[in-house]
């Protein structure tokens, strides 16, 4: 798709970001195997060893290879992002599309609820969920997704307000299509684009939220790991072994930054493209009276 291609490779910065994300993805897939060390294996010869040829990123307090662990962390963090973002789309798109299509009071009430939810400190709720229902990774990722649908619901609702004035919706209605059919066949496919564009900005938010909760020791548990857990461990050993903090922090920071940059580009480009499009629709419907 030319749209995504320009956004992801249009400038040097965008290309660098894309390459970094690609590398991290590959690292998450195979990285732990490259290093030749098992992420849980302990090298008694090298406790808290500085980076060298054998341990590229050094080792942690109990002699585990940090490169292998950072890659394992990448796998967990990116899996969290994938699952949670999918969940946020699955909630946000139908919610926003339904509100926009119904309009009137229902719409106002549904959007008011979204406004109110913006003010709830959800991270604390996820923490409580973890404590109450045990630290089950899948539940953790699902819960993260369940708090990031608000933006997507708003965007989709805005788009739906435009779409529902279109001739093809009217035509479908005239042909006797039910509300559900119009929603699923005519509205949802047409709001999928903006939903996906905005979902790219959900990815870094989720990665951050996951690492945040894991950092506090309330998310992912040993021997499994994530960037947040590694940063927390690194914080404890940073005085004697700064690399234990540096590498996980670098990966988390750069990955989140790259996703944000690419997400911004996608969104700007999309806005520029659709501004003309929405204006046309508006003048069309004005002309029709």
């Amino acid at each position: 798709m030319p749209f995504f291609r320009t956004a992801l490779t249009g400038t040097l910065l965008a290309r660098l970001c894309s390459v970094w994300i690609l590398l991290t993805l590959v690292g998450a897939g195979f990285g732990a195997a490259w290093s030749g060390w098992d992420p849980e294996a302990i090298d008694w010869e090298a406790l808290e060893a500085a980076p060298d040829a054998a341990h590229w990123f050094g080792t942690d307090l109990i002699g585990r290879d940090l490169f292998a662990r950072v890659m394992l962390g990448a796998r967990v963090s990116l899996t969290a992002a994938l699952i949670a973002t999918t969940v946020s789309i699955l909630i946000g798109v139908p919610y926003g599309a339904f509100a926009g299509l119904r309009g009137g009071r229902t719409d106002q009430l549904m959007m008011r609820i979204v406004d109110v939810l913006y003010a709830v400190p959800f991270i604390l709720v996820v923490i409580l969920l973890m404590v109450v229902f045990g630290r089950e990774p899948l539940l953790f990722f699902l819960a993260l997704g369940a708090i990031y649908w608000l933006d997507i619901a708003r965007i989709v609702r805005g788009q739906t307000l435009v779409i529902r004035e279109q001739a093809y919706i009217e035509a479908a209605r005239t042909l006797g299509a039910g509300r559900l059919r119009i929603l699923l066949r005519h509205v949802v496919p047409n709001v999928a684009g903006p939903a996906l564009v905005y979902a790219t900005l959900t990815i870094p938010a989720v990665i951050l939220a996951e690492s945040f909760i894991s950092f506090l020791g309330l998310g992912i548990q040993e021997p499994d790991t994530s960037w947040g857990v590694l940063i927390a461990d690194g914080t404890r050993t940073m005085e004697s072994a700064p690399w234990t903090l540096f590498f996980p922090a670098l990966f988390l920071g750069l990955t989140v930054w790259c996703f944000n940059m690419l997400g911004d580009r996608l969104r700007d480009q999309y806005d520029r493209q659709t501004r003309g499009y929405t204006r046309n629709i508006a003048s069309e419907s004005a002309a029709r009276g």
């Binding site: 003010a119 109450v132 950092f215 903090l245 750069l254 989140v256």
Partner: protein, 306 residues
């Protein structure tokens, strides 16, 4: 406008009740109670203990009792920190949390709006690129990265500032800075976009055409409109700032209520968890009300609506 405010007040009250109810029943749905970890007690002692903490009642009854206590401003005894009431614990932690949080909020607003306005008034210029480039770097430095790195650099390596704890004003330099920086970025980005967009509005062009001085155009015709989205962002930002402060308090070993929350959640200290949630929710909702109030003052569409 009275109708608008009344409406907001009602919604805030309802939200408060929903949050409290949800959290109350959620923690009681957890397997295992607060006293499971203690050594086995004779049944009579255990019964007394449960009665003392109101745990022998059915959950609905406990809930009503709790609401009654809350209405009197009593958050109950802590389950784990014996001899302390939740009120006492929060009273000791809140000044620390509030001090750090409010300073950070102030820094974030001043820094973010300053950078955003400067960049947004001349979009595409060198200063725009330089300022926003620097601000965008903040996206790579979330609190869990920034706070430990700040301790490493300024406390461990340079030795300029203490690494954590409380005691002197120097202890309160790094925490608010580390908490504020990610929000400086967010507010700067929002402000810049909004200012740059307002520049193109017809009424700004008119003001220029009338020959008004630049300063007046900026302060009277651009900023009041351009800063409205920033104002409404402050509500959600306050919620995010609170969660950020949980990490900051952990890293800098500050005895604030964010640390209580994490410890209490791990220990199943029901009343303390509830207490912190009540305080957080109350602050966030009050802050949101304040934001709504300012918004209503600034936006004539709301002022005129009824």
């Amino acid at each position: 406008m009275t109708g608008y405010l009344l409406n907001r007040l009602l919604i805030s009250g309802a939200t408060f009740l929903v949050i409290i109810t949800a959290v109350f029943f959620m923690i009681r749905a957890a397997p295992g109670g607060p006293f499971d970890g203690d050594r086995r007690l004779p049944p009579e002692v255990e019964a007394n203990l449960l009665a003392a903490y109101d745990l022998d009642q059915p959950p609905g009854r406990q809930y009503l009792n709790y609401l009654g206590m809350l209405a009197r401003g009593d958050l109950g005894p802590s389950f784990k920190q014996k001899d302390f009431t939740v009120n006492e614990l929060i009273a000791s932690g809140l000044p620390v949390s509030l001090g750090v949080g409010l300073t950070a909020l102030l820094l974030a607003v001043l820094g973010g709006v300053g950078i955003g306005v400067q960049a947004g008034l001349s979009p595409g210029s060198f200063s725009d690129a330089a300022l926003m480039g620097a601000a965008n770097l903040g996206l790579a430095l979330p609190s869990i990265v920034l706070a430990p790195l700040a301790v490493l650099v300024f406390a461990v390596w340079l030795g300029w500032l203490p690494a954590g704890g409380v005691g002197s004003p120097a202890h309160f330099i790094l925490p608010p800075l580390a908490l504020a920086l990610p929000f400086v970025t967010a507010i700067a980005r929002l402000t810049r976009g909004s200012v740059a967009e307002t520049l193109l509005e017809p009424h700004v062009m008119t003001a220029h055409a009338k020959g008004l001085p630049h300063r007046r155009i900026v302060f009277r015709h651009i900023l009041p409109i351009a800063l409205l989205p920033v104002l409404s962002f402050l509500g959600p930002a306050a919620a995010a700032l609170l969660t950020g402060s949980v990490v900051i308090e952990q890293v800098f070993e500050l005895p604030g209520i964010g640390r209580y929350f994490v410890q209490a959640a791990l220990n199943r200290d029901y009343t303390l968890v509830m207490g912190v949630v009540v305080v957080y929710a109350a602050f966030i909702l009050m802050f949101n009300l304040l934001v709504d109030l300012c918004y209503a003052r600034l936006d004539p569409r709301i002022r005129v609506a009824d």
